[in-house]
Protein backbone atom coordinates (compact mmCIF):
# COMPACT_ATOMS: atom_id res chain seq x y z
CA UNK A 1 0.00 0.00 0.00
CA UNK A 2 2.82 2.33 0.99
CA UNK A 3 4.68 1.46 -2.20
CA UNK A 4 1.61 2.31 -4.23
CA UNK A 5 1.30 5.72 -2.55
CA UNK A 6 4.97 6.43 -3.18
CA UNK A 7 4.67 5.42 -6.81
CA UNK A 8 1.53 7.55 -7.26
CA UNK A 9 3.27 10.58 -5.75
CA UNK A 10 6.32 10.18 -7.99
CA UNK A 11 4.12 9.66 -11.03
CA UNK A 12 2.05 12.76 -10.36
CA UNK A 13 5.12 14.94 -9.77
CA UNK A 14 6.77 13.65 -12.94
CA UNK A 15 3.57 14.32 -14.89
CA UNK A 16 3.34 17.89 -13.57
CA UNK A 17 6.99 18.64 -14.41
CA UNK A 18 6.63 17.09 -17.87
CA UNK A 19 3.58 19.22 -18.61
CA UNK A 20 5.40 22.36 -17.42
CA UNK A 21 8.39 21.51 -19.55
CA UNK A 22 6.26 20.84 -22.64
CA UNK A 23 4.31 24.05 -22.19
CA UNK A 24 7.53 26.06 -21.89
CA UNK A 25 9.07 24.54 -25.01
CA UNK A 26 5.95 25.22 -27.01
CA UNK A 27 5.89 28.82 -25.89
CA UNK A 28 9.48 29.68 -26.78
CA UNK A 29 9.63 28.13 -30.24
CA UNK A 30 10.16 30.40 -33.25
CA UNK A 31 8.26 33.48 -32.11
CA UNK A 32 9.36 36.70 -33.71
CA UNK A 33 8.32 38.72 -30.71
CA UNK A 34 8.79 37.24 -27.30
CA UNK A 35 7.36 38.94 -24.28
CA UNK A 36 9.45 38.61 -21.19
CA UNK A 37 7.43 39.53 -18.19
CA UNK A 38 5.58 42.83 -18.07
CA UNK A 39 6.11 44.80 -21.27
CA UNK A 40 9.53 43.31 -21.95
CA UNK A 41 10.05 41.96 -25.42
CA UNK A 42 12.81 40.77 -27.75
CA UNK A 43 12.16 42.22 -31.18
CA UNK A 44 14.06 43.58 -34.17
CA UNK A 45 13.55 44.99 -37.63
CA UNK A 46 15.53 44.70 -40.83
CA UNK A 47 16.08 47.60 -43.18
CA UNK A 48 15.59 47.89 -46.10
CA UNK A 49 12.44 45.87 -46.02
CA UNK A 50 12.52 45.23 -49.75
CA UNK A 51 14.91 42.84 -51.53
CA UNK A 52 18.63 43.52 -51.45
CA UNK A 53 19.73 41.79 -54.65
CA UNK A 54 18.17 41.76 -58.09
CA UNK A 55 19.70 41.44 -61.58
CA UNK A 56 17.88 44.56 -62.76
CA UNK A 57 20.13 46.56 -60.41
CA UNK A 58 23.14 44.30 -59.96
CA UNK A 59 23.52 42.68 -63.38
CA UNK A 60 24.27 39.04 -63.99
CA UNK A 61 26.75 36.85 -62.19
CA UNK A 62 29.48 35.08 -64.14
CA UNK A 63 32.84 33.58 -63.15
CA UNK A 64 34.97 36.42 -61.84
CA UNK A 65 32.19 38.99 -62.16
CA UNK A 66 32.38 42.05 -59.89
CA UNK A 67 31.34 41.49 -56.30
CA UNK A 68 27.92 42.88 -55.35
CA UNK A 69 27.73 44.44 -51.91
CA UNK A 70 24.62 45.56 -50.04
CA UNK A 71 23.98 46.76 -46.51
CA UNK A 72 21.30 45.37 -44.23
CA UNK A 73 20.54 47.17 -40.99
CA UNK A 74 19.39 45.27 -37.92
CA UNK A 75 17.55 47.50 -35.49
CA UNK A 76 16.61 46.59 -31.94
CA UNK A 77 12.97 47.63 -31.51
CA UNK A 78 12.47 45.64 -28.33
CA UNK A 79 13.32 46.30 -24.71
CA UNK A 80 16.28 44.01 -24.17
CA UNK A 81 19.71 43.80 -25.79
CA UNK A 82 20.63 41.06 -28.23
CA UNK A 83 23.38 39.80 -30.45
CA UNK A 84 23.28 38.32 -33.96
CA UNK A 85 23.49 34.57 -33.61
CA UNK A 86 22.31 32.79 -36.75
CA UNK A 87 21.80 33.10 -40.50
CA UNK A 88 19.58 30.85 -42.54
CA UNK A 89 18.29 30.98 -46.09
CA UNK A 90 15.58 29.37 -48.13
CA UNK A 91 15.91 29.07 -51.87
CA UNK A 92 13.58 28.81 -54.81
CA UNK A 93 13.94 28.05 -58.57
CA UNK A 94 17.44 26.98 -59.72
CA UNK A 95 18.78 26.25 -56.24
CA UNK A 96 21.93 24.68 -57.73
CA UNK A 97 23.17 28.21 -58.34
CA UNK A 98 23.59 28.63 -54.57
CA UNK A 99 26.58 26.26 -54.78
CA UNK A 100 28.29 28.55 -57.27
CA UNK A 101 27.81 31.78 -55.36
CA UNK A 102 30.03 32.91 -52.52
CA UNK A 103 28.68 34.98 -49.67
CA UNK A 104 30.42 37.13 -47.11
CA UNK A 105 28.66 38.80 -44.20
CA UNK A 106 30.48 41.46 -42.20
CA UNK A 107 29.24 43.19 -39.11
CA UNK A 108 30.25 46.81 -39.43
CA UNK A 109 31.58 48.54 -36.36
CA UNK A 110 29.57 51.06 -34.39
CA UNK A 111 32.39 53.59 -34.68
CA UNK A 112 34.07 54.75 -37.87
CA UNK A 113 37.46 53.38 -36.89
CA UNK A 114 36.17 50.01 -35.82
CA UNK A 115 37.12 47.24 -38.23
CA UNK A 116 34.35 45.19 -39.83
CA UNK A 117 33.90 41.85 -38.13
CA UNK A 118 33.57 38.73 -40.26
CA UNK A 119 30.47 36.77 -39.36
CA UNK A 120 30.30 34.37 -42.29
CA UNK A 121 32.11 33.52 -45.47
CA UNK A 122 31.30 30.54 -47.65
CA UNK A 123 28.84 29.36 -50.22
CA UNK A 124 25.33 30.71 -50.26
CA UNK A 125 24.07 27.12 -50.22
CA UNK A 126 25.52 26.51 -46.74
CA UNK A 127 23.01 28.93 -45.28
CA UNK A 128 20.27 26.47 -46.13
CA UNK A 129 21.28 24.36 -43.14
CA UNK A 130 21.64 27.47 -41.01
CA UNK A 131 24.89 28.87 -39.73
CA UNK A 132 25.52 29.72 -36.10
CA UNK A 133 27.50 32.94 -35.74
CA UNK A 134 28.55 35.09 -32.88
CA UNK A 135 27.91 38.76 -33.46
CA UNK A 136 30.56 41.08 -32.13
CA UNK A 137 28.37 43.81 -30.77
CA UNK A 138 25.64 43.80 -28.20
CA UNK A 139 22.78 45.73 -29.75
CA UNK A 140 20.91 47.62 -27.08
CA UNK A 141 17.27 48.72 -27.40
CA UNK A 142 16.83 51.29 -30.21
CA UNK A 143 20.38 50.79 -31.39
CA UNK A 144 21.17 49.28 -34.76
CA UNK A 145 24.01 47.48 -36.44
CA UNK A 146 24.81 47.21 -40.15
CA UNK A 147 25.54 43.96 -41.92
CA UNK A 148 27.53 44.25 -45.13
CA UNK A 149 26.53 41.38 -47.41
CA UNK A 150 28.67 40.61 -50.43
CA UNK A 151 27.86 38.05 -53.12
CA UNK A 152 30.05 36.95 -56.00
CA UNK A 153 30.76 34.11 -58.38
CA UNK A 154 34.37 32.89 -58.13
CA UNK A 155 36.53 32.61 -61.23
CA UNK A 156 36.65 28.84 -60.78
CA UNK A 157 32.90 28.43 -61.29
CA UNK A 158 32.10 26.52 -64.44
CA UNK A 159 29.51 26.47 -67.18
CA UNK A 160 27.11 24.45 -65.03
CA UNK A 161 25.73 27.66 -63.55
CA UNK A 162 25.22 29.47 -66.85
CA UNK A 163 21.74 30.93 -67.20
CA UNK A 164 20.49 29.75 -63.79
CA UNK A 165 18.33 32.03 -61.69
CA UNK A 166 17.21 31.67 -58.10
CA UNK A 167 15.62 33.59 -55.27
CA UNK A 168 16.85 33.55 -51.70
CA UNK A 169 15.16 34.63 -48.51
CA UNK A 170 17.89 35.38 -46.01
CA UNK A 171 16.88 35.20 -42.36
CA UNK A 172 18.75 36.87 -39.53
CA UNK A 173 18.25 35.60 -36.02
CA UNK A 174 19.21 37.53 -32.89
CA UNK A 175 19.53 36.00 -29.44
CA UNK A 176 19.12 37.02 -25.84
CA UNK A 177 21.04 37.01 -23.58
CA UNK A 178 24.01 38.50 -25.43
CA UNK A 179 26.23 36.15 -23.44
CA UNK A 180 29.71 37.35 -24.30
CA UNK A 181 31.61 40.15 -25.88
CA UNK A 182 33.07 39.34 -29.26
CA UNK A 183 34.76 36.33 -30.77
CA UNK A 184 33.53 33.38 -32.77
CA UNK A 185 31.82 30.47 -31.12
Amino acid sequence: MKNLQTFTSIFMITLVFSLMLFASITYSASACTIFLGRGKKLDMELSPKQRLFHPSEDGYFYPGSPKITKNLTVCNVGDIPFRICRFTATFDQDTKLANGLQLEILELGKCKNEKPYLLYTGTLSRLKRGVEVSGKSVISPWQSITLRITVWMPETAGNEYQGLSMTADIAVTVCFPPAHDGGHK
Binding site: K2, Q5, T6, S9, I10, I13, T14, F17, M20, L21, S24, S28, A31, C32, I34, L36, D43, M44, E45, L46, Q50, R51, L52, F53, H54, P55, G59, Y60, F61, Y62, P63, G64, S65, L72, V74, F82, R86, T88, L97, G100, L101, L124, V151, Y161, Q162, G163, L164, S165, M166, T167, A168, D169, I170, A171, V172, T173, V174, C175, F176, P177
Partner: protein, 208 residues
Protein backbone atom coordinates in the same frame (compact mmCIF):
# COMPACT_ATOMS: atom_id res chain seq x y z
CA UNK B 1 10.15 6.18 5.79
CA UNK B 2 7.63 6.56 2.98
CA UNK B 3 7.65 10.32 3.44
CA UNK B 4 11.43 10.36 3.16
CA UNK B 5 11.33 8.38 -0.07
CA UNK B 6 8.71 10.66 -1.51
CA UNK B 7 10.71 13.75 -0.65
CA UNK B 8 13.87 12.23 -2.13
CA UNK B 9 11.96 11.47 -5.32
CA UNK B 10 10.58 15.01 -5.50
CA UNK B 11 14.03 16.53 -5.02
CA UNK B 12 15.58 14.27 -7.68
CA UNK B 13 12.85 14.96 -10.21
CA UNK B 14 13.14 18.67 -9.46
CA UNK B 15 16.89 18.63 -10.11
CA UNK B 16 16.44 16.71 -13.37
CA UNK B 17 13.71 19.11 -14.49
CA UNK B 18 15.83 22.15 -13.69
CA UNK B 19 18.78 20.77 -15.62
CA UNK B 20 16.56 19.98 -18.58
CA UNK B 21 15.03 23.42 -18.35
CA UNK B 22 18.42 25.11 -18.21
CA UNK B 23 19.41 23.38 -21.45
CA UNK B 24 16.17 24.16 -23.17
CA UNK B 25 15.83 27.82 -22.27
CA UNK B 26 19.39 28.97 -22.83
CA UNK B 27 18.37 31.60 -25.40
CA UNK B 28 15.40 33.56 -26.55
CA UNK B 29 15.52 34.53 -30.15
CA UNK B 30 13.88 36.65 -32.79
CA UNK B 31 14.14 36.09 -36.55
CA UNK B 32 13.41 38.39 -39.46
CA UNK B 33 13.90 37.71 -43.15
CA UNK B 34 15.10 39.67 -46.14
CA UNK B 35 12.94 38.20 -48.87
CA UNK B 36 12.88 38.11 -52.65
CA UNK B 37 16.60 38.39 -53.30
CA UNK B 38 17.22 37.24 -56.85
CA UNK B 39 20.51 35.97 -58.21
CA UNK B 40 20.89 35.26 -61.92
CA UNK B 41 23.91 33.90 -63.71
CA UNK B 42 24.57 35.33 -67.13
CA UNK B 43 24.70 33.38 -70.36
CA UNK B 44 27.28 33.20 -73.08
CA UNK B 45 26.52 31.11 -76.14
CA UNK B 46 28.19 30.72 -79.49
CA UNK B 47 26.06 29.71 -82.46
CA UNK B 48 27.18 28.48 -85.85
CA UNK B 49 25.57 28.53 -89.25
CA UNK B 50 26.75 26.60 -92.27
CA UNK B 51 27.24 28.35 -95.60
CA UNK B 52 24.38 26.37 -97.18
CA UNK B 53 21.97 26.46 -94.24
CA UNK B 54 19.55 28.99 -92.77
CA UNK B 55 19.45 27.86 -89.15
CA UNK B 56 21.77 28.81 -86.29
CA UNK B 57 22.95 25.74 -84.42
CA UNK B 58 25.31 24.67 -81.63
CA UNK B 59 27.31 22.74 -84.21
CA UNK B 60 27.44 22.21 -87.98
CA UNK B 61 28.74 19.28 -89.99
CA UNK B 62 30.50 18.59 -93.27
CA UNK B 63 31.25 22.21 -94.15
CA UNK B 64 34.45 21.46 -96.04
CA UNK B 65 34.66 18.23 -98.02
CA UNK B 66 37.64 17.20 -100.16
CA UNK B 67 37.60 13.91 -102.00
CA UNK B 68 40.27 11.95 -103.85
CA UNK B 69 43.09 14.11 -102.48
CA UNK B 70 46.52 13.42 -103.87
CA UNK B 71 49.76 14.95 -102.57
CA UNK B 72 50.06 18.53 -103.78
CA UNK B 73 46.29 19.11 -104.18
CA UNK B 74 44.92 22.46 -103.00
CA UNK B 75 41.40 23.04 -101.80
CA UNK B 76 40.62 26.77 -101.67
CA UNK B 77 36.99 26.30 -100.51
CA UNK B 78 35.99 29.65 -101.96
CA UNK B 79 32.29 29.05 -101.44
CA UNK B 80 32.20 27.16 -98.15
CA UNK B 81 32.35 28.97 -94.83
CA UNK B 82 31.03 28.83 -91.29
CA UNK B 83 29.19 31.81 -89.81
CA UNK B 84 29.68 32.54 -86.14
CA UNK B 85 27.25 34.50 -83.97
CA UNK B 86 26.87 34.99 -80.27
CA UNK B 87 23.88 35.13 -77.98
CA UNK B 88 23.48 35.63 -74.26
CA UNK B 89 23.51 38.27 -71.58
CA UNK B 90 27.29 38.52 -71.11
CA UNK B 91 29.56 40.34 -73.53
CA UNK B 92 32.47 38.04 -74.41
CA UNK B 93 36.06 39.21 -74.60
CA UNK B 94 37.70 36.84 -77.08
CA UNK B 95 37.40 33.84 -79.34
CA UNK B 96 39.69 30.83 -79.68
CA UNK B 97 39.90 28.53 -82.68
CA UNK B 98 41.50 25.12 -82.57
CA UNK B 99 40.79 21.69 -83.99
CA UNK B 100 40.75 17.99 -83.38
CA UNK B 101 40.96 15.16 -85.88
CA UNK B 102 40.95 11.46 -86.49
CA UNK B 103 41.86 9.20 -89.39
CA UNK B 104 39.66 6.47 -90.75
CA UNK B 105 41.45 3.62 -92.50
CA UNK B 106 39.81 2.37 -95.64
CA UNK B 107 38.22 -1.05 -95.66
CA UNK B 108 39.28 -3.25 -97.28
CA UNK B 109 42.83 -2.03 -97.11
CA UNK B 110 44.40 -0.63 -100.25
CA UNK B 111 47.47 -2.80 -100.94
CA UNK B 112 49.56 0.28 -101.72
CA UNK B 113 48.66 1.94 -98.39
CA UNK B 114 52.03 1.52 -96.72
CA UNK B 115 50.67 2.40 -93.29
CA UNK B 116 47.48 0.46 -92.54
CA UNK B 117 47.39 1.91 -89.02
CA UNK B 118 47.35 5.67 -89.60
CA UNK B 119 44.13 5.73 -87.55
CA UNK B 120 46.25 4.90 -84.51
CA UNK B 121 48.52 7.93 -85.01
CA UNK B 122 46.46 10.55 -86.86
CA UNK B 123 49.07 13.24 -86.15
CA UNK B 124 51.07 11.81 -89.05
CA UNK B 125 48.38 12.73 -91.57
CA UNK B 126 47.53 16.02 -89.80
CA UNK B 127 51.15 17.09 -90.33
CA UNK B 128 50.57 16.78 -94.09
CA UNK B 129 47.36 18.83 -94.08
CA UNK B 130 48.57 22.39 -94.62
CA UNK B 131 46.38 25.38 -93.73
CA UNK B 132 46.86 27.95 -96.47
CA UNK B 133 44.04 30.28 -95.46
CA UNK B 134 42.60 30.80 -91.98
CA UNK B 135 40.37 33.80 -92.50
CA UNK B 136 38.18 35.08 -89.70
CA UNK B 137 36.18 38.30 -89.82
CA UNK B 138 38.04 39.43 -92.92
CA UNK B 139 41.55 38.84 -91.58
CA UNK B 140 43.77 35.89 -92.50
CA UNK B 141 45.27 34.49 -89.31
CA UNK B 142 47.21 31.64 -90.98
CA UNK B 143 50.41 33.43 -90.05
CA UNK B 144 49.36 33.38 -86.40
CA UNK B 145 49.40 29.59 -86.27
CA UNK B 146 52.56 28.51 -84.48
CA UNK B 147 54.68 25.93 -86.32
CA UNK B 148 54.87 23.64 -83.32
CA UNK B 149 56.86 20.84 -84.97
CA UNK B 150 59.08 23.33 -86.86
CA UNK B 151 58.64 21.52 -90.18
CA UNK B 152 58.08 24.79 -92.03
CA UNK B 153 54.37 24.13 -92.56
CA UNK B 154 51.28 25.46 -90.75
CA UNK B 155 49.18 22.33 -90.40
CA UNK B 156 46.22 21.05 -88.44
CA UNK B 157 48.74 19.34 -86.15
CA UNK B 158 50.12 22.78 -85.30
CA UNK B 159 46.64 24.26 -84.85
CA UNK B 160 45.59 21.46 -82.49
CA UNK B 161 48.68 21.90 -80.35
CA UNK B 162 48.70 25.69 -80.43
CA UNK B 163 45.21 27.18 -80.76
CA UNK B 164 44.77 30.62 -82.25
CA UNK B 165 43.62 32.76 -79.34
CA UNK B 166 42.63 36.34 -78.63
CA UNK B 167 40.51 36.69 -81.76
CA UNK B 168 37.82 39.37 -81.81
CA UNK B 169 34.41 38.17 -80.70
CA UNK B 170 31.79 37.48 -83.34
CA UNK B 171 28.76 39.67 -83.85
CA UNK B 172 25.46 38.90 -82.24
CA UNK B 173 23.81 36.01 -84.08
CA UNK B 174 21.95 37.06 -87.21
CA UNK B 175 24.84 39.32 -88.12
CA UNK B 176 27.30 36.54 -88.85
CA UNK B 177 31.08 36.74 -88.65
CA UNK B 178 32.58 34.45 -91.25
CA UNK B 179 35.33 31.86 -90.92
CA UNK B 180 36.93 30.56 -94.12
CA UNK B 181 39.49 27.84 -94.57
CA UNK B 182 41.78 26.73 -97.41
CA UNK B 183 43.77 23.53 -97.28
CA UNK B 184 46.57 21.86 -99.18
CA UNK B 185 47.57 18.21 -99.02
CA UNK B 186 51.34 18.36 -98.75
CA UNK B 187 53.53 17.15 -101.62
CA UNK B 188 55.55 15.33 -98.97
CA UNK B 189 52.65 13.04 -98.09
CA UNK B 190 53.58 9.54 -99.17
CA UNK B 191 51.74 6.30 -99.69
CA UNK B 192 51.06 6.00 -95.99
CA UNK B 193 47.81 7.89 -96.45
CA UNK B 194 46.40 6.28 -99.58
CA UNK B 195 42.69 5.68 -99.19
CA UNK B 196 42.64 7.18 -95.69
CA UNK B 197 40.00 9.69 -94.60
CA UNK B 198 41.00 12.72 -92.52
CA UNK B 199 38.10 13.66 -90.26
CA UNK B 200 38.50 17.25 -89.05
CA UNK B 201 36.59 18.98 -86.25
CA UNK B 202 37.04 22.73 -85.95
CA UNK B 203 36.50 24.00 -82.42
CA UNK B 204 35.40 27.58 -81.71
CA UNK B 205 35.39 28.72 -78.08
CA UNK B 206 34.03 31.99 -76.84
CA UNK B 207 35.47 33.43 -73.61
CA UNK B 208 33.83 35.95 -71.32
Amino acid sequence: MTMKRTLTAIVLIGIVAMLAGAGTYAYFSSTKTSTGNTFTAGTLDLKLIDWDELTWRDGVTATWTATNMVPGDSFPFNVEFVGLGRTGTITPSSLEITCNYSVIEESPQTPSDTDPNTNLHPDAMAKQMIITRFKYNGTDYAGSIVDVDTDGKKTFYDLKNSPVTGLPTPYVADGATFFRLSVKFSEDAGNDFQGDTFNLTMIFTLYQ
